[in-house]
Amino acid sequence: MTAPKPILTRRDFVRGTVGAALGASLFGVTPQSARTAEARSSSVCVIRDEKALGEGNQVDTAVLQNMLDELLLQFTGQTTPKEAWLSLVKPDDTVGLVATPHLNPTHAELVDLVKAGLIAAGIPENNIRDAQGKPDRPEACTALIALPALKAHWLTGIGTVLKNYITFSGKPSNYHGENNAKLGEIWNLPIVKGKTKLVLVDALRPLCDKGPQPDPRYLWNYNGLIAGTDPVAVETIALKIIEEKRKTFPGGLGPLSPPPLCVEAADKVYNLGTSNMAEIKIKTFGWEKDLLL
């Protein structure tokens, strides 16, 4: 007879034992302590431009194009956008773009610019697909570019990078409710694992509370893009921006509730990347006001 799995509670947060409790509660095991001793490092780039959103919060496409190009050059170290894209994907790749389709969706202008950039880099247009949806979509792709929009989520704390692939599971309801900590599991599915060449977060107008349904009280113009190849590191930076923004409200909005368990689980349980700020090298470019980092 096996012992029941321990249950993660508020007390684990107070004790600082969330990582161990997550592993135990999800799998009945303690995460490998040896792995935590490995030297890890991930880079995340953030670029902002005060003029990215104009009147009525309309996207200035020319400004966004400059932001995207600069971000790619800085992140990849290449000298042209074409070289930058080709350092991430191969000309014969079938590239799936995975945007957030609704409830504070990814700006269509960003998706269009990414697609145009890939075409300009030599990827045939018919090899670039909308991969958001059922499992057959990522399965048909050899490379994925995650394009989530930044938002807090009432059920998972944050609903940005990790949650963006939920439909790839084929059973999104398996990751609802108390099972949302397991979202990282989806990134290790054979149809997904190793395919994500870039995580590019639309942080133009994020939502810092009450998501995913839009509540304009908590939307603000951050005018930013966030990029990296480590989904957990990118999510961690996205989370930091959300948490810092919440502190700016009168009296503060308090910590995210429920806490974003999926982020630490993606690191400690699913080994997708690092959620440790000390292991993330943040490079910021452009508009510095209210950077929140």
């Binding site: 249950i7 993660l8 107070v14 304009p216 009280r217 509730s257 806490p259």
Partner: protein, 319 residues
């Protein structure tokens, strides 16, 4: 599957200022709500949800106005949805309760507006009306639509279970009305006060629960608020099962000493990492206090809330 709606629970005007709506609404039920709001449907299913009607108002040269009318199975459920967030500016839609039998335990308004979004309850309806771009003109249209939906839908008093919350604990700890939330699901509890990823209190739609915060009004104190959780289970057996699960999950070091027989009721306090926890169980009722600053305060507060949950239910107490 998306369906058009033949009979909306509310009568909406064809126009609101320069905005006009399409003839039919989109209707969603419990089986299809995730097709409309994947990732947020649980919030409505956590209460007793009957259906959702969605209307889009459009106007040339202006951003759209989205009207969502959630039909709940009781006014308590519509109230519960509003109570998860008391932020925003109070608005009178003309359907305020005639009096407040809660004695000030919750804010008096049932409609709140902020930055283009109106949220309100109207009898068993919960409404969200969102102007994607806020202007004086769109605000007036949003409010006029809210008034149209609320017309003739006078709000009843808040859920009776809320009245078990003391207005003060130990004299110096005062209830914060804007931190009172009525709910039935651990998912909602976790959104206002995270307790556990699992449903360790065995909550479901047959339960009534209220979460509240009490702040210390002694000026020299900088103590965090005490959190109170009062639950009414549908029966004593359900309460006893929840008692057992809560101790095993949240207070495992004390679980071995918990009584097996709750017929005479139970109350005790425990010291954990973030303060003292007080627990009281009586028949099908439970009260739990979190983050009490010390043992004496916890015992005193628990004595008070324990008395409230032992109070015999009368005909005005909603059972």
């Amino acid at each position: 599957m998306k369906m058009s709606c033949n009979a909306s629970p509310a009568q909406l005007p064809q126009t609101a200022g320069p905005w006009s709506r399409s003839a039919a609404s989109q209707h969603w039920d419990a089986a299809t709500i995730f097709e409309y709001i994947n990732g947020a449907g649980e919030m409505y299913l956590a209460y007793r949800f009957a259906g959702l009607d969605v209307y889009l108002y459009t106007a040339p040269g202006r951003d759209d106005i989205l009207v969502e009318i959630y039909e709940m199975k009781s006014p308590d459920d519509a109230f519960g949805l509003l109570s998860s967030d008391w932020g925003g500016d109070p608005v009178d839609l003309g359907n305020q309760p005639a009096q407040d039998p809660s004695g000030g335990r919750v804010p008096p308004h049932r409609a709140l507006y902020g930055a283009g979004l109106l949220r309100f309850c109207a009898r068993n309806l919960y409404g969200r009306i969102l102007a994607y771009t806020e202007t004086p003109e769109s605000k007036e249209a949003v409010l006029s639509l809210g008034r149209a939906i609320a017309a003739g839908q006078e709000n009843p008093p808040p859920p009776q279970w809320i009245n078990r919350l003391p207005l003060r604990l130990n004299e110096s700890w005062r209830l914060k009305p804007n931190r009172v939330c009525f709910f039935r699901s651990h998912l909602i509890l976790n959104s206002v006060y995270f307790l556990s990823q699992k449903n360790i209190l065995n909550l479901d739609q047959a339960c009534e629960a209220v979460f509240a915060e009490y702040e210390c009004n002694e000026t020299s104190a900088t103590l965090p608020p005490v959190k109170a959780l009062l639950i009414r289970y549908p029966g004593a057996d359900r309460a006893r099962q929840a008692f057992q699960r809560f101790f095993e999950a949240y207070l495992p070091e004390y679980a071995a000493n918990r009584p097996g027989d709750l017929s005479a009721g139970f109350q005790d306090v425990y010291n954990i990492e973030d303060g003292w926890v007080g627990c009281a169980w009586h028949q099908n009722h439970a009260a739990i206090l979190f983050e009490c600053p010390d043992q004496q305060t916890a015992q005193s507060m628990l004595q008070q809330v324990s008395g409230e949950i032992q109070r015999v239910e009368d005909s005005h107490d909603g059972s």
